[in-house]
């Protein structure tokens, strides 16, 4: 009975109902708009259980990017991290500072270019191993140009003049492309953050690095030290910054390394 009455009312007032429902829609719609427009308050007003639209929108995206890394050797790694920390402040940093004071920036860039050119085999072979023929060609072009026009690689005319950018590939990345996971996190003496896979890759890459073949061993170590000192002369202050900003420098360094490598592997 009631239903039938309602129907007749609805029929006779069809337009009025339509207008009313439209008004309701408008009000509801603007209501949503208003609730979104509470800029600084939206955090505090968030529903008590904390599950609200912000999380719905961004948690998924963050979860995609976040990388879990096993760290079964955390105790040992933390010890190594502290040893490297001391080595940095007592040895590497003072050396890099003196070096930086003696050599002008232009010369240090030349030294950087020289070593970068020298390690072309590492990048070339890894490009090939990853099936990146074009990138391998790029590395070969860069090597030929920089070794000749760039005078033994001290200059980088390939980039400066021809805009050919280097392709940073290494064996750790190649192994990752082949499907090998990180394994677990490792802090290496002197070299710092790494993973099981990247450590294996690094050893492999040593065979492609001409500096490894310098005889006697002392000379080889000497050359490698110059390379490292030169590199750090551009980065003095970065590690200090990391330590200053981090609540736990060890965890921050681990996270940064893993994210950085993930990005390299994706490229």
């Amino acid at each position: 009975m009631i239903l039938r009455e309602l129907k007749t009312i609805a029929k006779s007032n069809h337009m009025k109902l339509f207008v009313l429902s439209m008004m309701f829609l408008v009000i509801a719609g603007s209501g949503c708009g208003v609730s979104q427009k509470s800029p600084s308050n939206h955090v505090m007003q968030a529903s008590e259980n904390g599950v609200d639209e912000d999380f719905d929108l961004f948690e998924e995206e963050l979860a995609e990017q976040a990388v879990e890394i096993a760290d079964p050797l955390e105790g040992l790694n933390r010890l190594m991290f502290n040893i490297n920390d001391v080595l940095y402040f007592w040895v590497l940093k003072p050396c890099a500072e003196v070096y930086k004071a003696i050599l002008p920036k232009a010369s240090r860039i030349s030294v950087h270019n020289f070593f970068h050119n020298l390690t072309t085999p590492v990048r070339y072979v890894n490009c090939l191993l990853q099936g990146k023929g074009k990138s391998a060609g790029t590395e070969l072009d860069r090597f030929l140009i920089n070794s000749t026009v760039g005078i033994l690689g001290f200059g980088d005319p390939a980039l400066d003049k021809w805009k050919i950018e280097p392709v940073e590939e290494d064996l750790g990345q190649t192994l990752a492309v082949c499907g090998y996971g990180d394994g677990f996190y490792l802090v290496l003496p002197l070299f710092g953050p790494s993973t099981l896979r990247d450590s294996i890759g690094m050893i492999g890459d040593l065979f492609l690095n001409p500096v490894s073949y310098v005889e006697p061993v002392e000379a080889s170590v000497g050359v490698a030290s110059v390379k490292i000192t030169n590199k750090y002369s551009f980065h003095i202050g970065e590690y200090e910054l990391l330590k200053q900003e981090a609540l736990d420098p060890y965890v921050a360094m681990r996270e940064i390394y893993i994210q950085y490598r993930r990005k390299q592997i994706q490229e």
Binding site: M15, F18, V19, M22, M23, L25, V26, G29, S30, G33, Q36, K37, P39, S40, H42, V43, M44, A46, N49, G50, V51, D54, F55, L57, F58, E59, E61, L62, Q65, A66, K105, I109, H112, E165, F234, G237, E238, L241, Q244, E245, A246, L247, D248, V251, A252, R254, E255, I256, Q259, Y260, R262, K263, Q264
Partner: protein, 195 residues
């Protein structure tokens, strides 16, 4: 007459719905470019001391970052609900301060480089805009992640060479909260501010 009203109302509803989704990534790019120019000029200005620089940059970046959202996401769905309202307020305040310093200190390293904005990458609810900084020794890429809220574009994360500021804090907070209390986290945040 009735029909006219209906049409008008219908138009109102439709225009409302459309306006809600109206976001133009070009606006975000312009915003980044102008802000970067101002920030770089402040950092390069040799007449200002460190304190003056910090306070000026503070004013520039305050409206373009969504610090409140960043705080929430840094704790994540896992930890955020555990905080009381007061704790949330305190955390957001401390974390905001820290993020400002963090961002400023990081970009200080690159203000001499030439900055080039690359085309925006559209995401579901956000826009990612890469900025290339070309230095002599290396090329550095800073990725800005922005979302659109209340008619404005706001940055909610910055990646430098693929390393996200947000995720780096997130893993540290997660690690701390896995073996200590929220109170400990807050006092650690407060302590390190005075360092």
């Amino acid at each position: 007459m009735k029909n006219l009203w209906c049409v008008l109302l219908f138009l109102l509803v439709v225009s409302h719905a459309v306006a809600g989704d109206d976001w133009d990534p070009n606006e975000a790019e312009e915003l980044l470019q102008t802000k970067w120019d101002v920030i770089a000029s402040v950092l390069r200005n040799k007449d200002l001391d460190q304190k003056a620089k910090a306070s000026q940059i503070d004013k520039i970046i305050d409206p373009i970052f969504d610090f409140a959202l960043m705080g929430k996401l840094a704790l994540g769905r896992k930890h955020w609900p555990k905080l009381t309202l007061e704790e949330r307020e305190k955390f957001t305040q401390l974390f905001t301060k820290r993020l400002k310093v963090s961002y400023t200190e990081k970009i200080k390293l690159y203000t001499d480089e030439k900055a080039i904005l690359k085309p925006a990458i559209q995401k579901k609810k956000a826009v990612h805009i890469p900025m290339e900084l070309i230095g002599k020794e290396k090329k550095v890429v800073i990725l800005y992640k922005l979302h659109h809220r209340d008619k404005y574009w706001k940055i909610y994360d910055v990646e430098i060479q693929g390393v996200s500021i947000l995720l780096t804090y997130r893993s540290q907070f997660d690690d701390i909260l896995s073996h200590s209390s929220v109170g400990d986290l807050l006092s650690q945040l407060e302590e390190s501010q005075t360092r």
